[in-house]
Subunit: 256 residues, 2 copies
């Protein structure tokens, strides 16, 4: 079988990139400019960075290429989280003009394999390309109507992220090398979109083994200086299990 | 756009069905009969139940249809767990004869969306159909070479199942309504493929809240009679979180 390096009309990949900056969880979106036949002025639409898979690339590689082409982001660890295949997902009238402007076969049914990542938005250098006119970070509370079923994909990814942060030590790379318990709690509160009980949080985090207490403490604060911690990376990288169960000991939820 | 109820040549679904019976974890496989041009005798190949998706069905529906057509199993809750898209996954010579015998376009690249389930093998009524000549349960330690990348899909599903059983209350439907701690431990040991420390297991299970201790005890045993437990279904069905974190309180693994 000879592989055709052309585009597969039936399979795409979409990337849900969460970014943390200024204590806010944000979503990376691209802006597309779409000809409007009625007004003769281009409409602006938001979408997740996504595009069709090439016939000669595997799914992980396709996701990385598409993200890079549309937003400039490279070398990000993208985790596949779910495939979406409603037969009508690309048939809405609102998406028709754009489909016709970019696709050879706008009638083709498209199944999309969705990926997600959580990164430091401050360190991300955005450089839109291909059909993406702009790449922007929007706070997750301000996500507008998106193309296709992208709102559904985003909602599913957000739910998956909230589950994940409670069973895996993710998000630590968003903090400075040395951080206080308050900074860590603030990160968790942002991702989970709710307030957490300070004592419970502290106890569960300390019990988890994920933190290394440092002798160093905060300088130049008027109150009692807070202790610094660092992330116990070795424990996770050398452990059989990458799971961290913060939900339980006696209760069913981490911060219940 | 008119939907074509025909087959999508580029997307398939595969089902990894784990079955528990006689204290053994088994995998449901279909046997296919493939013409061998050299020997004139049909070769027998094993594969996961899987087939192409129709253009008018969503992925969950496709998985259920395919499973039912090939094995007779109906009404099983299938969970999507990963999509596999190596461009070369259906190009191996060993799979060629079969592809040519059943596919209109045997050269088409196929991306597969994989589903999994864990069921009681004793209650499953198997009735093979379509290109499946037989549907069989094989102990997971005796899984032979399978079609395409099905060994990889099975290994990934097994890994996912082992993670899952430690953070979600799955598998309880495989036990009688009232069960002893030993029966529960035996189920976990079978799924995790390793021995567990009895005291640790008991403590974590009791702390989890997932068990309701019954006043009833075993009858007709010579030793100290064991207490019966039932599964605290309400807690999970009415809970915000379906997660049960058995891995931690102070340690990183459930049974470490």
């Amino acid at each position: 079988m000879s592989l055709n390096p052309s585009i597969n009309p039936h399979v795409s990949t979409d990337c849900v990139i969460f970014g943390f900056s200024q204590e806010t969880l944000r979503l990376l979106l691209i802006r597309r400019s779409i000809p409007n036949r009625l007004t003769d002025v281009n409409d602006i639409h938001y979408a997740l960075p996504g595009d069709l898979v090439r016939d000669d690339e595997d799914l992980d590689k396709a996701a990385n290429r598409v993200l890079s082409e549309l937003t400039g982001l490279k070398g990000i660890y993208l985790e596949q989280f779910h495939s979406f295949g409603d037969p009508l997902r690309v048939t809405k009238p609102k998406d028709r003009a754009w489909l016709e402007s970019v696709r050879q076969d706008p009638d083709a049914r498209v199944i999309t394999v969705a990926y997600m990542a959580l990164i430091d938005a401050n360190k991300a250098v955005l450089q839109p390309g291909s059909f993406s006119k702009e790449a922007v970070w929007l706070p997750i509370s301000e996500v507008p109507e998106l193309a296709f079923d992208h709102n559904e994909i985003f909602e599913n990814a957000l739910k998956a992220l909230k589950e994940k942060v409670q069973i895996q030590p993710i998000g630590f790379e968003l903090l400075p090398e040395k951080f206080t318990m308050s900074q860590l709690q603030s990160l968790y509160e942002t991702i989970l979109e709710r307030d957490l009980d300070k004592r419970n949080f502290r106890r569960k985090m300390l019990n988890s083994g994920v933190l290394i207490p440092l002798s160093e403490k905060q300088l130049g604060v008027s109150n009692k200086p807070a202790r610094f911690y660092s992330f116990n990376r070795d424990l996770f990288e050398n452990s059989d299990s990458r799971y961290l169960n913060l939900r339980m000991d006696g209760s069913f939820s981490l911060f219940g």
